[in-house]
Amino acid sequence: MTTPQHSAVAGPPGSAATGQSAIRFAGVHKNYLSHGDTVPAVKRMDLAIAQGEFFSLLGPSGCGKTTTMRMIAGFEEPSGGKVYLDGKDVTGVAPNKRDVNMVFQSYALFPHLNTYQNVAFGLERKKVSKAEIKKRVGEMLEIVSLTGMEKRAPKEMSGGQQQRVALARALVNHPRALLLDEPLGALDLKLRQQMQIELKRIQREVGITFVYVTHDQGEALTMSDRIAVMNAGVIEQLGSPREIYERPATRFVAGFIGTSNIVEGHVERTENGLALVSYTAQDRVVVPVGSAVRVGDKVEVSIRPEKIDMHRGVPPVTSTGGSVLSGVVNEVVYHGTSTNYTVATAAGADFTVFDQNASNAEDLADRGDRVYLTWAPQHSYMIGV
């Protein structure tokens, strides 16, 4: 096992703002020329990634996440703004002169070199001594559990093994940051989950900043310290996985990360930081709001499906002052660990409700049943319109 020189510990998310950032974007934007038109790939971006952080860029294809990563690596130059590595301006510096390494989508291993030669490639370019290369490659292959595979050619290895060669080839150089471009995309589900845990372990062991590009929200949620959710060249929200899941800042984030129920309405009353939106005499949504929200304002409220309780038949007694929506069950889908219901509500929106199958042997309701959905005020979340 190595004990890398880097003393950087995965710092708390807040440290990005205070200490020296590993990677910083200042007013970066990137345009492409396509048939004479300028197409923005990344719109104005300010971003600071902390030393030792596991940072994910998450978004659908074409959202600019890969372009952002390639600007860190130096394969793309920003159309405007500056990129800093460890506080040093690297805008315009060639990729081979940047102290970051990349794990490519589908690995891009050198097909004519064996495992050892692939991993040693970077160190040889840096003119590290033969003995030192041998030692470091050996240690790195041990970290990624590939000892004994030194002589194998890439095509003689499984996808998971190639993946680990790609990882070792980058990490052996002790870069200031490791960039991973959808590195698990080509693996099957089981292997992917295993590699997620592996990656996280390796990141803890070597303490290097990881920047992880993915369109898989599950992957981003499980591995990251912080996530930047991108859409159409803009970071829609930046925060910890929990913040992003529990408090989606925009409608896009609410929809892209997990499943969200979204209802619209006008504020009827505010009281103790809670706003009331009613649809009928008994159908109402209660949502915590800031002081800026006034009576009559239009609001959008997001509710996660697993936070909702469903009752069949009679309206429940609600002394807590939470939300209540009546509706009719449209669909019941059994998922093993849970059952998903689709309910057409009085608020006009279809709601998805997850019910854990922990204690219920029977379904809560059948298609066509009249039901009442209730949830506590803190589970309603107002999203930016």
């Binding site: 394969f75 390494n101 490519f104 291993l109 004519h112 080839r169």
Partner: protein, 287 residues
């Protein structure tokens, strides 16, 4: 019944190709071998007598042309690599959406007959032609300067005529290189020159290897370029064989020379393959 059919199917499939080989390769080869061991003359006819002396006589008389052909072949092949690599590289990496157009443009001249194109080179390079005449008039070249009839003209013609045979295999090898592999080299601290030397070149070597195989053999046995662009001092072995067959009707000598040329080329190719075999290409590249 079905099982028998299934077992026989591969043999039926190989039948057309096998017949083709038998008819157009094996039988002519045997005929030629027998011809090369015959004795006699065109008037009285040739008799099969195991006359191995045909071979030693042929070598004695024509080793100069044979060696010259191999040298021309080797020099032309080297020029072909030097010229073809940049062309193939440019099309493969910078051709973008127009790759096929560029390849088509490269092949376009070759839709015109081989001999016609070579003859037009004679028109272009002739002593008072469009290239040499103006240069002589302004005094850059002496009046006695000429290109036609020199080894340079013959080798130039060979390089021109066989360029696609070198460009295409190298292009195929380069085109297959994943651009991300080159980026990976750049990411791992290789400057553009090192990335070329350590990644692109080794991955292109199998293409160069194939190109050499495809051009060295026909170039060495070519008989048109020297005939049209050369002189008696540039005679190649292909011309000798042709003359023996069609002019002197000395079939045994022509056949013996053909076999000698084939043997020499095969030995050369195998030696080359051994030194730089496709498997070993990878190992050489890794060093």
């Amino acid at each position: 019944m079905d099982r028998v059919k299934r077992q026989l199917a591969p043999y039926f499939l190989v039948l057309p190709g096998g017949l083709w080989l038998l008819l157009f390769f094996a039988i002519p080869m045997i005929a030629m071998l027998s011809l090369s061991l015959q004795q006699g003359d065109i008037v009285n006819g040739y008799q099969f007598t195991f006359h191995w002396q045909n071979y030693t006589d042929a070598i004695d008389s024509y080793h100069t042309q044979l060696i010259r052909s191999l040298i021309y072949g080797a020099v032309a092949t080297i020029f072909l690599i030097v010229l073809a690599f940049p062309v193939a590289y440019w099309i493969a990496f910078y051709g973008g959406k127009r790759k096929s157009t560029y390849l088509f443009l490269l092949l376009l001249p070759f839709f015109v007959s081989f001999v016609l194109r070579t003859i037009s080179w004679r028109q272009i390079l002739t002593d008072d032609g469009p290239v040499l005449k103006p240069l002589k008039e302004i005094g850059l070249l002496s009046d006695s300067y000429h290109i036609l009839g020199t080894p340079a003209a013959v080798i130039g013609g060979l390089v021109y005529n066989f360029l696609p045979f070198m460009v295409l295999p190298i292009y195929v090898a380069l085109e297959r290189i994943d651009p991300r592999v080159v980026e990976a080299a750049r990411d791992l601290y290789a400057n553009p020159a090192t990335a070329f030397r350590k990644v692109i070149l080794p991955l292109a070597l199998p293409g160069v290897f194939a190109g050499v195989l495809m051009s060295f053999v026909p170039v060495s046995s070519d008989y048109v370029n020297s005939e049209v662009l050369g002189s008696s001092s540039t005679t190649m072995i292909g011309q000798v064989i042709q003359a023996q067959y069609l002019v002197n009707s000395d079939y045994p000598t022509a056949s013996a020379l053909s076999f000698i040329l084939m043997a020499v080329l095969l030995v050369g190719i195998f030696a080359y393959a051994r030194a730089l075999g496709t498997e070993d290409v990878m190992k050489v590249a890794a060093r």
